[in-house]
């Protein structure tokens, strides 16, 4: 493992020269040092088509800015044979190309040519390039989780988590603990489809880390990625879905993929408003339906008890007329013995009437069945 402080002290060995570079000579397909997200400019829960539109708009704004003001910060490149790869400035290159620019000033990195001293450790060059790629972004704006994860992955090839954590304020512009560094590395090593979900806020990092906790392989994670690409729910509900799928699969000795791809769940995920009678196209609604299916299968007896209570409550007809302000709640998960009745009233007269209703309720055999 390299020591980051040693790497920084060796930075003098890194050669930087600014020169005009032909934009066509830059290979944008090599994303080895890419940190920034493609959907950098968008925020909130937008669909992927919204993201693309937003990205285009923002890329066009950047292009207009460059045309108006010029390139304020030169891009950073590495020279490989006759071509260049980007260390920092992917979006600036795209923006300049989009407005027909042919050339740009660029800072070209290369390690000093040590013919006499063959002991030069080329890993320094890699780490120093990574540090530039991360810091150039991190000190101009706050990095999102996936950007941090990509940065960590670049450094983890050569440096320990502890070392990265110790130097995180100088690299990521934020203090990070060793465990967070490890978690980000775990996320970075997950399939790209999951990265996209995290970047689009459809899956949280902590939800994704459950896949690591459960030791899931790539194909199983892909199954979950497909599921979460089609639904939308809060962090706690994401975790509930992942946990229930895992536990049902373990208990029933089936694969989690088979459960996700079961007819019952697939029908919900693939349903469309215009060609499906169930009319389930809202991503929130789909999530809730899947949660219900999973809860029923994970807690069948509790589910039945809740359903039975709910049906009996309907038969008691507490929601009609004067009774509508009387609410009956069972003990949590039917573990305790205490039922709760809540009633609203605004006058003493109203309270007296409702007290009579309650009194009549106690004589109703159905009420006795419910509370037995």
């Amino acid at each position: 493992m390299l020591n980051l402080q040693t790497t920084i002290s060796n930075s003098a060995l890194l050669k930087k020269r600014v020169k005009q570079v032909c934009l066509d000579a830059i290979d944008l397909s090599d994303e080895s040092f890419k940190i920034s997200s493609d959907n950098l400019f968008f925020s909130g829960n937008k669909s992927s088509s919204d993201n693309s539109l937003s990205n285009l708009t923002n890329l066009s704004n950047l292009a207009l800015s460059i045309r108006l003001t010029g390139l304020i910060n030169p891009i950073v490149l590495r020279e490989i044979d006759d071509k260049y790869i980007v260390v920092s400035g992917f979006k600036r290159v795209s923006a300049m190309r989009s407005i027909g620019m042919r050339e740009t000033p660029a800072s070209i990195l290369s390690h000093l040519d040590f013919d006499k001293d063959k002991t030069y450790d080329f890993r320094f060059y890699e780490v120093q390039s990574a540090l530039i790629a991360i810091s150039d972004n991190a000190f101009s704006r706050q990095l999102n989780v996936m950007e941090q994860a990509r940065g960590v992955r670049l450094l983890k090839r050569f440096c320990s988590s502890y070392d990265i954590a110790q130097n995180s304020p100088a690299i990521f512009n934020v203090n990070m603990g060793e465990s967070l560094i490890n978690m980000l590395d775990d996320i970075a090593n997950m399939p790209l489809s999951l990265h996209e979900l995290i970047e689009s806020d459809k899956l949280s990092m902590s939800s994704a880390l459950k896949f690591k906790q459960y030791g899931y392989d790539k194909s199983l994670i892909e199954s979950f990625a497909t599921l979460f690409s089609k639904i939308k729910c809060s962090l706690s509900k994401q975790k509930e879905i992942i946990t229930n799928i895992h536990e049902i699969a373990a208990r029933e000795e089936i694969s989690a993929s088979d459960l996700i791809e079961s007819k019952e769940i697939s029908q919900i995920l693939d349903s469309q408003s215009d060609n499906c009678s169930s009319n389930v196209n809202d991503e929130n609604q789909k999530a809730n339906l899947i949660r219900s299916i999973l809860f029923n299968r994970r807690y069948p007896n509790l589910f039945k008890a809740k359903e039975r209570f709910s049906n009996n409550l309907k038969m008691l007809n507490l929601n009609s007329g004067m009774k509508s302000d009387i609410k009956l709640d069972p003990p949590a998960d039917f573990e305790g013995r205490d039922y709760t009745i809540t009633l609203k009233f605004s006058t003493v007269e109203e309270l007296a009437k409702k007290a009579n209703i309650l009194s009549a309720l106690t004589k109703n055999p159905l009420f006795g069945d419910i509370t037995d």
Partner: protein, 394 residues
């Protein structure tokens, strides 16, 4: 799990008790000035729980030697008294609460028999029955391999009863040694005066195989229980934790049948066997002081420990809800159903044996046993009565 490292608190004076442990473990001890060295040894390892099981720290108990069993107000407690002689365990049960209870999880042996004797003498003076156990924070008999403490305690309780028989105080206390081992050799030739109950935690072979790593098999436990019965000891059984799974009722029925009808003893569990499969005799109901039953329940934080340490275990994936004491418990109708079955199976063989629940509420008692020890201390009094009836001197 084999003990690999032995630490000894330097503040403790060398004594026979320590020499015995050093000799039994065949380990070179490392003397430490303070416990931090030991805690770091465990905490800084990749798997502190496993490391804690492989690390023995001989030290002194700086807290109370005798403690009341911690119950909660929502569920009925049996008023047990804990004799705090050591912590943690060398066996490795997936569901063991001690994994989450100790910080750090560490095998500790508390030296100082004089301190234990003094604490016991105090309770022996009281005109009441104490049911005292060493199996709350550890397994009572794992220590039998490396120390003679269990045997000393058996003698201590035997002598207390003799002293009392000469006085007007007719009450006596009993020691319960609760275990999943078959480490009973040191109990053989002791004049125990029937003041020690040797108790086994029982489960189905399926649960033992999947969840109770490093413990004795069911047939070995029952064979050991029969041996103790032959030596005049009273025995007890704890069906705790009962694990609900498909086919569990039949499996628990078989376990109960094995208690009373005997077990097949094969070569694997009987070193004295000549390879011929034998049938051991069952336990007599009158030898059993009590049978406790309790379904699996756990502090929520245990779940992740189980998932991390026992990834193949599905024990935490039952139909659990949050109980009134904030522990996870099976949905109540499921608990009641399995309890009803187990109680009825036991009753077929032993209608008079005292069966009780560990930490259950009125509804469960009423629907399974038909009554509820409502008053504070009532369950404890029932257990005391069973002690008085069944633990009279031979």
């Amino acid at each position: 799990m084999k003990i690999e490292t032995l630490f000894i608190d330097r503040a403790i004076r060398p004594c026979e008790e320590i020499d015995y442990i050093i000799q039994s473990t065949s380990l070179e001890p490392e003397y430490v000035e303070n416990s931090k060295v030991v805690y770091d040894h465990v905490n800084l390892s990749d798997d502190p729980i496993t490391k804690g099981k492989q690390t023995l720290y001989i030290t002194e108990n700086h807290g109370a030697v005798i403690k009341k069993c911690p119950g909660t107000s929502h569920y009925t407690c049996c008023d047990y008294t804990i004799l705090h002689t050591g912590t943690f365990c060398t066996m490795d049960c997936s569901y063991c609460i001690l994994q989450a209870y100790f910080h750090p999880p560490l095998l500790q042996y508390f030296v100082g028999q004089h301190k234990i004797d003094a604490a016991l003498d105090e309770i022996f003076k009281e005109n009441k029955t104490f049911r005292v156990g060493t199996g709350e924070f550890t397994d009572s008999l794992i220590w039998d391999k490396i120390s003679n403490q269990p045997a000393k305690l058996v003698r201590k309780f035997a002598d207390q009863a003799r002293a009392r028989s000469r006085s007007s105080n007719n009450n006596f206390s009993i020691l319960e040694l609760k275990t999943k081992t078959v480490n009973i050799d040191s109990l053989k030739d002791i004049d125990h005066n029937r003041k020690t109950v040797v108790a086994w935690s029982l489960n189905t072979p399926k649960v033992i195989k999947s969840e109770e790593r490093g413990t004795a098999s069911l047939s070995a436990r029952l064979k050991a229980a029969k041996e103790c019965e032959r030596w005049g000891y009273r025995v007890a059984f704890h069906f705790d934790p009962i694990v609900i799974y498909q086919g569990c009722e039949e499996d628990y029925k078989e376990v109960i049948k094995s208690i009373f009808e005997g077990v097949r003893v094969d070569k694997n569990v009987d070193s004295s066997s000549d390879g011929v499969i034998k049938q051991s005799l069952g336990i007599l109901p009158e030898s059993i002081v009590w049978i406790s039953i309790g379904t699996f329940r756990f502090m929520p934080q245990l779940k992740q420990i189980i998932e991390n340490r026992f990834p193949k275990s599905t024990i935490a994936y039952g139909e659990f809800i949050t109980g009134l004491d904030n522990k996870m418990r099976y949905f109540k109708p499921l608990r009641i159903k399995i309890y009803q079955k187990i109680v009825s199976f036991i009753r077929q063989y032993a209608p008079d044996v005292l069966i009780y629940f560990c930490m259950e509420d009125e509804e469960v008692w009423q629907k399974t046993i038909g009554f509820f020890p409502k008053k504070e201390g009532q369950l404890g009094a029932m257990l005391d009565r069973s002690v008085m009836e069944r633990c009279k001197a031979c």
